[in-house]
């Protein structure tokens, strides 16, 4: 019985993540349009796009890894979602959290990108190869401040469990204020994680013909789009759990995640695209310095 409830809860979690993630992407398109003085598509445009992409016929064959790449992305985003507590202290949305899940998530989050790199490499498209190189370089860039921020919090509170960190924040207040340097480093790393402008060097449509996904159309593109939106919600929920103490109900969760989502979106709207080395230099500059400072702060305090 317990197993059944957990399974149903996991399915419900994934469906909620899909709906909310797609809605956020739609709102993003609408806000982008309003900033550019356009009317813009309706906010449900992304659902229609996904439905159309899934109903397209797809007959492209480059090899086994090419077919597995969208599955890797989906496994990574859904798996990460199931290890993150969605709401605080509720039997709904059960998750698979255990001691040490923060370290596990650090590794599991990059699985999708690596699978995608293998799949896109097999398509043999030169644009895809350039996109992969850029994406992995950028990942090396933003992973460093991101890991430093997380390790700083692990040191500060002697725990590697997200649930424990959430419980600690109930007593001591949000980690956002307990270790502001770590929060700043993590937020700057988030700009790269979301791959919006100025860090959209991976899938730059104008110069790379959308990069790694250039040979993927139809159902595969629809699957990637869905997994991308689930992953966006996953990352935002992880940030809320780690720095804002988690949410007690779904309305608070939506408000907090959307507030966080505004940061990469609005920063992207006013920024042109970086070159690859500029992007890496950005992440190895102030974000890394802030991460180091957060580490020192967490050891000293």
């Amino acid at each position: 019985m317990d197993f059944l409830i957990k399974t149903l809860g996991a399915i419900a979690t994934i469906i909620v993540a899909f709906i909310v993630g797609m809605l956020y992407m739609g709102i993003n398109r609408k806000i982008t349009a309003r900033v550019q003085n356009r009317v813009g598509p309706p906010v449900w445009q992304n659902y229609i796009d996904a439905l159309k992409l899934v109903s397209k016929k797809t007959s492209v064959h480059h090899g086994v890894m090419q077919h597995l790449a969208p599955a890797f992305l989906m496994i990574s985003s859904m798996g990460t979602l199931l290890f993150i507590p969605i709401l605080r202290g509720q039997s709904w949305f059960p998750n698979l959290s255990y001691h040490g899940d923060l370290i596990f998530i650090l590794y599991f989050m990059v699985l999708g990108s690596l699978g995608m790199a293998l799949g896109a490499g097999q398509t043999g498209n030169p644009n895809a190869a350039i996109g992969i190189t850029r994406g992995l370089s950028q990942m090396v860039g933003f992973e460093i401040p991101w890991v430093m921020a997380l390790v700083a919090m692990m040191i500060q509170y002697h725990t590697t469990s997200i649930s424990d960190l959430m419980a600690i924040q109930q007593q001591h207040g949000w980690l956002m204020f307990q270790n502001p340097l770590a929060f700043l480093a993590a937020i700057l790393a988030m700009l790269g994680m979301f791959r919006y402008s100025p860090f959209d060097i991976v899938g730059a449509p104008a110069e790379l013909a959308s990069g790694p996904i250039s040979e993927f159309g139809g159902k595969y593109l629809g699957l990637m789009m869905s997994s991308g939106s689930i992953f966006a919600f996953t990352k935002l929920t992880l940030y809320v759990d780690l720095f804002m103490g988690g949410a007690s109900n779904i309305v608070v969760l939506l408000i907090e995640t959307f507030t966080l989502y505004l940061i990469p979106m609005l920063y992207g709207l006013v920024s042109p695209r970086y070159r690859t080395e500029q992007a890496i230099r950005y992440f190895w500059g102030w974000p890394t310095v802030l991460g180091l400072a957060a580490l020192v702060y967490s050891v000293v305090i």
Partner: protein, 183 residues
């Protein structure tokens, strides 16, 4: 139950609705008409409010927008691009040159009637059509999709030999002969 005619009808309506409201356009802009595409897509005329947006590669695209004349050199590339696209796919012929050759009607190295080489679903006439006309053409295509009449790709498959013979007349031995582009 699944193969029931009525349930298939409902599925068709839902799929056509989604296809109609989400058109990813691959603009093949070698003709002079390509200059009308940026204002159509950007702030002034904003085609994105109808769900029309640009696609970066043929694999992701639904609509092939051919803007203007095609030389015998570029028509080979257009055929290749068209056959790389995934079903269902549509072609829009843009400007007089795709209808009857336009001002290039007696040129020695341009094709005149695009429909003899690729199945065109919608023509937008004019030299050149303004963005309003382009958007109206897209809306005509949307209506056609909703009614299930935009079946150029099906027609192309059924009459492939006729199209190949026409292509061979202008391209000679360099005519594309691969049926499926999986390289």
């Amino acid at each position: 139950m699944i193969n029931d005619k009525n349930s298939q009808k409902i599925v068709d309506i839902i799929q056509n609705f989604a296809r109609k409201h989400s058109l990813f356009v691959l603009a093949y802009g070698t003709g002079c008409g390509a200059i009308e595409i940026p204002p159509t897509m950007t702030s002034r005329y904003d085609a994105e409010r109808f769900g029309i947006r640009g696609a970066a590669t043929p694999r992701q695209a639904d609509v092939l927008l051919i803007t203007g004349y095609l030389t015998t050199k570029t028509v080979k590339r257009v055929i290749r691009v068209y056959e790389q696209m995934q079903d269902p796919k549509y072609v829009i012929g843009f400007g007089s040159c795709t209808i009857n050759g336009g001002m290039y009607w007696d040129s020695y190295n341009t094709i005149k009637v695009l429909d003899r080489y690729l199945p065109v679903d919608i023509y937008i006439n004019g030299c050149m059509p303004r963005p309003e006309a382009v958007i109206e053409g897209f809306i005509k295509l949307q209506k056609k999709i909703m009614e299930g009449r935009a079946e150029g790709a099906k027609h192309y498959k059924e009459n492939l030999e006729w199209y190949r013979a026409n292509q061979k007349k202008v391209l000679g031995p360099t005519t594309p002969h691969i049926q499926e582009y999986n390289w």
